[in-house]
């Protein structure tokens, strides 16, 4: 083999690798943008989908498709819209609370007409299996929030609210109710924007 390369050969090698990488980058960028929406939908469907579907049971649209992206303070929020009796009057969105084992993701559904909670559901959590994890698996705890007004005291009873904590899982219960209280604040902030956007979409 020849020892060392002259500039010309080196340039050739360099160009070969650059061309390969550039073409590869271009192809991937195209495919990525082509599949982006589909992937987002799949993630919603399998991670948050079951919870949203349960909250929005009986809606005549698919809340996973019918959703808004709304700027809220620093972050963007996905707002899922449910249509009942021909009226798009229910929204659901995800908020986070602090549980015993880490972050708790909670989806809260609210009726825009009367500010009542239509349902909540835990999406992601790292609570103790069989203890705190009941927040997700046992529907009776989450069911207590159903029908409550956004203005009701939503703390657990130990903190002066109206919600019965799950026995043995006070911290998880407090985490979920904290997330719901967070949701009431988000809702208060965003309600005018949401209503306006829903009207816009219709027209």
């Amino acid at each position: 083999m020849e020892r060392g390369l002259n500039m010309r050969e080196m340039l050739k090698l360099f160009i070969a690798v650059v061309v390969f990488s550039a073409v590869s980058g271009g192809v991937l960028a195209t495919i990525q943008s082509a599949t982006k929406e589909k992937i987002e939908y799949q993630q919603l469907k399998f991670v948050k989908g079951p919870t949203i579907k349960a909250i929005m049971e009986g809606s005549s649209n698919d809340p996973l498709i019918d959703r808004l992206m709304i700027q809220d303070e620093a972050a963007k929020r996905n707002i899922f819209i449910g249509e009942f009796d021909g009226k798009r009057n229910t929204v659901a969105f995800e908020v986070f609370g602090k549980g015993y084992g880490g972050v708790l993701g909670v989806i809260v559904g609210v009726n825009l007409d009367n500010d009542e909670i239509v349902g909540i559901g835990v999406t992601t959590h790292s609570e103790t299996p069989g203890v705190g994890s009941r927040a997700k698996s046992d529907p009776s705890f989450a069911a207590q929030f159903k029908g409550k007004s956004m203005k009701d005291p939503l703390q657990i009873k130990a903190d002066g609210g109206e919600i019965d904590a799950m026995s043995g899982a006070t911290i998880t219960s407090r985490g979920v109710s904290g997330a719901v209280i967070e949701a009431t604040k988000v809702y208060e902030r965003l309600k005018p924007v949401i209503i306006e956007k829903i009207k816009e979409n219709k027209g």
Partner: protein, 197 residues
């Protein structure tokens, strides 16, 4: 000694079947064969990458400079792997979640780079396609065979359908890592006995 296209295809199925004869690609072979569904999914994903990278590399084999060929091969392979990853996320999300990190790791699967270097870089497009398809199918069948043994014994199911009555106690050892090694070893042993002339 030129082989026919059919021979290039069939060698991957028996004489040079990757995990058992060449003993390549063992990482996914051991890791994802807990269930038949995972085994087939992994096999199909790898086959797709193998065929595509074999064909493209064969097409470009005269324009890739020798000194940087490995870097170019890896770029080609990594591109196809990323394509598979995106497509799986878009269309078979639950399977993607189960296979997890092993999908991007197809890039470092020795079978794919091995076929690119040993075959596609020296042969025509049609032969490379046949080689990729044969190797891919051989890999898929190997994973499936291993997964059938492990899933049936270790979980009492076949493709998530229970095969034994409710009284069956699953042999949980088989779906754990040591079970994978034992099972692979026994399969290698059977293949060697059968392959003896």
């Amino acid at each position: 000694m030129a082989k026919t296209t059919v021979q290039e295809f069939t060698k991957g199925l028996w004489a040079e079947v990757p995990p058992f004869r060449l003993v390549l690609g063992l990482c996914p072979t051991l890791a994802v064969t807990k269930s038949v569904e995972n085994g087939i999914g992994m096999g199909v994903a790898t086959t797709f990458v193998l065929i595509c990278s074999n064909m493209l590399i064969s097409m470009l084999r005269n324009s890739i400079p020798k000194r940087v060929r490995i870097a170019c091969f890896i770029v080609v392979i990594a591109t196809f792997v990323t394509v598979v990853e995106l497509l799986m996320q878009a269309y078979t999300y639950p399977l993607f979640l189960k296979l997890g990190i092993f999908i991007p790791l197809i890039v470092v699967n020795c079978i794919v780079l091995g076929r690119a270097e040993a075959f596609a870089a020296k042969n025509g497009v049609v032969a490379s396609f046949a080689d990729g398809l044969g190797m891919g199918l051989g890999f898929t069948l190997s994973l499936t065979a291993l997964a059938i043994v492990r899933e049936v014994l270790g979980n009492g199911t076949f493709y998530n359908i229970p095969v034994f009555g409710p009284s069956f106690k699953p042999f949980a050892f088989m779906v754990q890592a040591p079970g994978a090694f034992v099972c692979l070893g026994l399969m290698l042993c059977i293949m060697n006995v059968l392959g003896k002339k």
